[in-house]
């Protein structure tokens, strides 16, 4: 069964550094998402992406964040200058269609630790 994959599984970086988290969505999916979960807290929506554009983003997704689909398979989340509070689990998801009528398939997550 097709799965969403994410790399790396764990990323450690120093404060102020740039990080890129990578995701490979399911191949026939058209909508892509990033979520984060700070340890012990709820999963929070960051951004949704369709047709090479951001379709929705949350208040968390400020100018420090950007997303890109650089080729036909990868979907990336870049954090330009990491802060300690960016330490979290980051989940990528994809779906065939938009809106909640379509199931979102989640990746296993990347644990980002900012020191």
């Amino acid at each position: 069964e097709p799965e969403v994959t994410q790399t790396p599984s764990h990323q450690v970086t120093q404060m102020g550094q740039e990080v890129i988290l990578r995701c490979v969505p399911i191949s026939n999916h058209l909508y892509f998402y990033w979520y984060r979960q700070i340890l012990g807290q709820k999963v929070e929506f960051l951004v949704s992406f369709y047709n090479n554009e951001i379709s929705e983003k949350s208040e968390i997704f400020d100018d420090q964040f950007s997303v890109e689909r650089p080729d036909g398979s990868n979907f990336t989340l870049k954090i330009r200058s990491t802060k300690l509070e960016d330490s979290a689990m980051y989940f990528c998801a994809s779906s065939v269609g938009g809106l909640a009528t379509y199931e979102q398939y989640f990746g296993p997550g990347t644990r980002l630790t900012v020191t």
Partner: protein, 112 residues
């Protein structure tokens, strides 16, 4: 904004018994969806069950069913005949458009 509250951080159930996980939400939207996701240890989240808010009939999926009380904004998950493989973190979520709002999760332990 929408909020989702899961008041039970941890629950346990004896194998083959039934357990109910609670979830309440707050939304001003009239058209929305509700979900329960399961996250086994070190695995990705998978969809357990989905409910359209405009449907009065409670969704069921094999051993999983929901009790959707729209006026009370309550969306509980019932797991019948619990199995060891049901042990996981369970997240309640609601969505409007492309945005999902999750609760903090309930960790379910299944006792053999």
């Amino acid at each position: 904004a929408q909020t989702v509250t899961q008041s039970q951080p941890e629950m346990s159930v004896q194998e083959a018994e039934t357990v109910t996980l609670s979830c309440t939400y707050d939304t001003s939207e009239s058209d929305y969806y509700l979900f329960w996701y399961k996250q086994p240890p070190s695995r990705q989240m998978i969809l357990v069950i989905r409910q359209e808010a405009y449907k009065q009939q409670n969704a069921t999926e094999n051993r999983f069913s929901v009790n959707f009380q729209k006026a009370a904004k309550s969306f509980s998950l019932k797991i019948s005949d619990s199995q060891l493989g049901d042990a996981a973190m369970y997240f309640c979520a609601t969505s409007t458009g492309n945005q999902f709002y999750f609760g903090t999760g309930t960790s379910l332990t299944v006792i053999p």
